[in-house]
Symmetry: C3
Subunit: 141 residues, 3 copies
């Protein structure tokens, strides 16, 4: 009786500590992409890569994905970048967070109204990537 109680307690401690080292419920996979390049192959690639990654991981527990835009990569989120508007809006509607770095916005004197309405914002693009890695997200650049 006492022994079985001991094992229950030990199991609870074990399961508890396991749970605490994992990301909370929801999709099984968590991925943060960095988009810091100027207009060029990286812009085409990031859309394709996010879609392919989500499709591959959908068969294995699903994924939560965000893309952090900073440096010259921020320009991909400008409203005037109509060539990518449809593809980016589709990503956003699919639940992918597209996040603009406020440091990059300041550097380039871009305001919220200069960016696509579906873009979110973070104080610092790199700090955001750091926080996500700390929370167990995979990082892709």
């Amino acid at each position: 009786m006492k022994k079985s109680l001991l094992f229950v307690v030990a199991s609870v401690a074990l399961i508890g500590s396991l749970a605490l080292t994992q990301t909370p419920s929801g999709p099984k996979h968590h991925v943060v992409f960095q988009l810091s390049e100027d207009n060029g192959p990286a812009w085409e690639a990031v859309v394709i890569h996010v879609n392919n990654t989500r499709k591959a991981l959908a068969e294995d527990g699903g994924s939560e994905v965000e893309v952090v835009f900073y440096g010259p990569g921020l320009l991909m989120l400008k409203k005037s970048n109509t060539a990518f508007e449809e593809r980016l809006e589709k990503l956003s509607k699919d639940g992918v967070k597209l996040l603009a770095c406020r440091n990059a916005m300041k550097n380039r004197n871009l305001k919220t109204e200069d960016l696509f309405a579906f873009a979110g914002q973070v104080d610092s693009g790199i700090a955001e990537i750091v926080r996500k890695q700390e929370a167990g997200w995979a990082y892709i650049h």
Copy 2:
């Protein structure tokens, strides 16, 4: 007597939970390299970097290394890329896994027989990198 049993159980729980957060036995270090660039300095560099990394980590518990080829980087694994064949085959014989992304193969209409015989394949290069990071592998790009 009962107290000592308690401590044994607690220790087992502690060691068990520790073990579960680490990569299984084998080499101490686990590294996944991304090769997504077209022909150029990145191709020369990846061979040198993998070799140097393995050498440095050999003195400290050894390493398990894989390189994931996707985007235009997939072309490095084409049989016709004879300039790199010997160096890549040497890596493969040394135990480094060289993995082609099947999405990139489809995009470029490349079949298994178009790639070096020593190349492996994964469904999605990025999903592979994500899974490795989730399993505690270091990521280098």
Copy 3:
């Protein structure tokens, strides 16, 4: 009485295992930057990015930051690179570790006296990044 002891032991096991999965005391955040590019936009960017990241994380527990220079990126640490001397020395004085890869030094026949006096050295730049990721540091490239 015995039950309460059990819970104390279980809690100790739980807290102990938690503590062991976290980075030791000091700043809350730990970030390793890779600088492997030749002279160009990446050199300007790394200084700005390290400063912005440290500023953003200063409001949230602080950060320990190091930058690993390898490949052609090593050249940024050459004494003759006077255009960046002041900015790099400022980073170093702010506590950011600037580390030269000894493999890259050998490849380019550069000696300790060819590099800025405030630069440190590591056996292998990539092995250093691997070790930092293993120790829970976020990686930015």
